[in-house]
Symmetry: C2
Subunit: 347 residues, 2 copies
């Protein structure tokens, strides 16, 4: 249903300067998005890896006490699973290492299409819970404060942490808000019935990968956990579902664009509307995806067959859906708010 922008992909690794001369940028994707003054801002996830000429060796960068360490795993080492381009895993110990390390980088635009990516890092790994990097920032404006939650990855697991800013220069850190394993947290832009609200995605051992509701008195302590959208036998969402962009208030209720993946790791976007006064309750959901990987920059790339959004901006009745493609590029697709809402209310 979404309409791809002709300028896609908007941002690619070649547009972004690496943080060190001996690194290369391999992904500029899964951006949080917001309006700030007269600009549209993106917080890009920038994935980098050490430069290497030896294809037979997989390099795995991570931080120990602030120092960079690079493990070397032979691609044909029988002790390691090396098929997933994103990671390697030791078959005996279960130890997992990533093949890249991510940080968040600010990109600015006046038209929402042409972005200038800053050379400096906006947010990067600083504590042991971020030893493997930080990923997938999502921006929620509440009053004059912009809250950014992101995925902190380490041997502690995959957790969700929170920072905030009022000027995108000074950053306040609020620590881990969802302990591991939990990611894909989307915080609502206003309180509902006196409580802050979010959706989150626990990743249980031996359990389904579903989207859950939670609420909070202060954005830091979360409770009242309830599943809202569950992965199912419907094939496009058979493996997992999780939050996309922070929800948007419409006349029909809270509109969410979320992601789902099948057992082949094809990621699509879906949409639903939740009750205006109780967002733990579904009002309408499309059983079909609203957007699937079809363009070449979505079907090919670092991790192919992926469209994945962390940020949607509403402008003059239109939704600007910024989305990552194949864990590599940032692209834009659009749809009218009324068109999407009326489609969902009919479903």
């Amino acid at each position: 249903m979404l309409k791809r922008h002709a300028a896609n992909p908007l941002i690619s690794p070649k547009h972004v300067q690496p943080s060190r001369p001996d690194w290369s940028v391999i992904g500029t994707f899964n951006a949080g998005a917001c309006t700030y003054n007269d600009e549209i801002l993106l917080l890009l996830r920038v994935a980098e890896k050490p430069l290497s000429t030896d294809e037979s060796i997989i390099l795995c960068p991570y931080f120990v006490d602030g120092e960079l360490v690079i493990d070397r795993v032979r691609r044909d080492d029988p002790d390691w699973l090396t098929d997933d381009p994103r990671l390697v895993q030791n078959k005996k110990t279960g130890l997992l290492r990533l093949t890249s390390i991510s940080h968040l980088r600010l990109a600015r635009s006046t038209d929402g299409i042409h972005f200038t990516v800053e050379a400096t890092l906006w947010l990067s790994a600083t504590d042991p819970f971020e030893a493997y990097g930080i990923e997938d920032g999502r921006i929620t404006r509440i009053g004059d404060t912009y809250y950014v939650n992101y995925t902190a990855v380490s041997t502690y697991g995959v957790a969700t942490s929170l920072v905030s800013t009022t000027d995108f220069v000074n950053i306040d850190r609020h620590g881990i808000i969802f302990p591991p394993s939990n990611r894909d947290v989307t915080i609502f832009p206003q309180q509902v019935n006196g409580k802050y609200v979010c959706y989150h995605r626990p990743m249980p051992q031996f359990g389904g990968l579903h989207m859950w509701y939670a609420d909070s008195p202060d954005l830091k302590h979360w409770g009242n956990h309830k599943p809202i959208v569950t992965s199912s036998h419907v094939d496009w969402m058979s493996a997992r579902v999780g939050g996309g962009a922070p929800p948007i208030l419409t006349d029909a209720g809270w509109l969410s664009i979320y992601h789902a993946a099948d057992t082949e790791d094809r990621y699509c976007l879906g949409a639903f509307i939740a009750d205006k006064d109780d967002p733990s309750k579904l009002v309408a959901i499309d059983s079909e995806p609203i957007f699937i990987p079809e363009a070449s920059y979505e079907t090919e790339g670092f991790f192919s067959q992926v469209v994945f959004t962390c940020g949607v901006v509403e402008r003059e009745g239109e939704l600007l859906v910024y989305y990552g493609t194949s864990d590599e590029h940032t692209a834009l697709a659009t749809i009218g708010v009324d068109e999407l809402v009326s489609h969902l209310m009919k479903s």
Copy 2:
């Protein structure tokens, strides 16, 4: 260091009436404990399974919409992992089923040694998050209210839920306080610096199984998550650590008796003291276990080599450590508060 009681084990499956005539009780263990009026109360985890005469078939009971369903898995079915007596798991889909289903049962005693186990169920599965049963209740008295947190098990994963009572007859339900996978939650018996406090044990995919600190304004919303005791290369705690009994305030700080397991699934008890005013900070910890499986009822049984506590009662300067043995019996071991504290402060 702990002294086993001569009457051990205090409670065994044969002492407990099954909830249905066609079931047998296979475990009475991992009891929460408290004093109430002049009695010591235990909330026993009672594990049951359907009666069966066919050893070649493993029966897996669970609830669907309140109705009991029993799956049958052939012990030699090559599609299933059947080595763990507690569960089976499908090799292809990852689907996990338990071989028993647990509820909580109240046991009363005036001397702390001889217990009368009630015939009625105190708390049993009631919602989809408890489809595989409820396990490991822990009791914390705060003011005149007794809070009981427990493990809710289902295809949603392993979560922690909370109920409360003032009379052990009427029960208020407060829902899930830690989404999956999280268990071994120990709630402190009073606020610290104006906040409720607990330890919890997230079970991340691809991450270590550590004990974490969290605090809360209301016992329902939890945040400020920080690891406090991490599983390590020390062999007795190499696989996982997690909360045992709710912490006890001493002059030296908050005393916790916790559990740890090695990669062979041998469960021991350890102890530490945390800061009186900030229980996210360790004051003293013994690098060795304070209690290891040695008695025959600890080294043999349904799941052997396990000592595991959910409840400790302080009485006249002595700690009564009620503990589960081999996922089968409830036993008692004791130690003086001063003896344990001075041992830890020297370590």
